[in-house]
Symmetry: C2
Subunit: 132 residues, 2 copies
């Protein structure tokens, strides 16, 4: 791998990890703020249910039937996407819900698109629990 | 959802399912032909290992240390991507390997980009086994 591509890949991984840390920190501690990561074009498929746009996605995430959650991340894989400056992030981990003895395993994927202010928003989001 | 978007979503799901059927049929029955689904820009992250380009991806898939495999698909979620005409497909399922008593659970994600001949190729591919 030549230096330029190597550097690009490092940057992609740094952004992917920073996004994942930020996303699950908000999810577990300030879930209503997740809305700031989506835009009107954003799509979420949550356990097979399709939701489009900041408002409906935020509504879905905030109406999940549990208060406190704790995500533990196992793997983060990131690649540059075909969309200029975009990043695809693939996450696996486990989710501890209040009052539940066992953690739930999950996989989630984000397609991040750069914003004009140098940040990223989530264009595509897929969440699935992994049943053993 | 108005009619146009509803139709687009249906088309995206039809393409996503057709691709998934085709991909795992090739994987299980004619693995060397998977090369036809990738291009020089394609990226695969396989259990955390990053591989770029048709040749290296094909080499990786064909050198996996098992002959016959049988994938059973549990869920297919598809969304249009930000890249014109592209489709993001998120798959979960299980993998039966020869001589193994238990199936392995996996998650895989494909970012499909349209080709000039009206087909699609895989630009981004992530594969992870799900450990329980």
């Amino acid at each position: 791998m030549e230096t330029g591509r190597c550097h690009e890949q490092e940057q992609v991984e740094v952004v992917g990890k920073a996004f994942v840390d930020h996303y699950y920190n908000l999810f577990d501690n300030d879930r209503s703020s997740l809305a700031s990561l989506y835009q009107p074009t954003s799509m979420l498929t949550f356990e097979g249910q399709k939701i489009v746009g900041t408002g409906d996605i935020s509504c879905k995430l905030n109406s999940l039937p549990f208060g406190n959650s704790k995500h533990t991340i196992s793997t983060i894989d990131s690649q540059p996407s075909a969309y200029g400056g975009g990043i695809v992030v693939f996450v696996s981990g486990s989710l501890q819900l209040p009052g539940e003895e066992h953690q739930l395993r999950f996989s989630q994927m984000f397609h991040l698109i750069p914003t004009q202010d140098g940040s990223f928003f989530v264009q595509n989001d897929f969440f699935r629990l992994n049943y053993g």
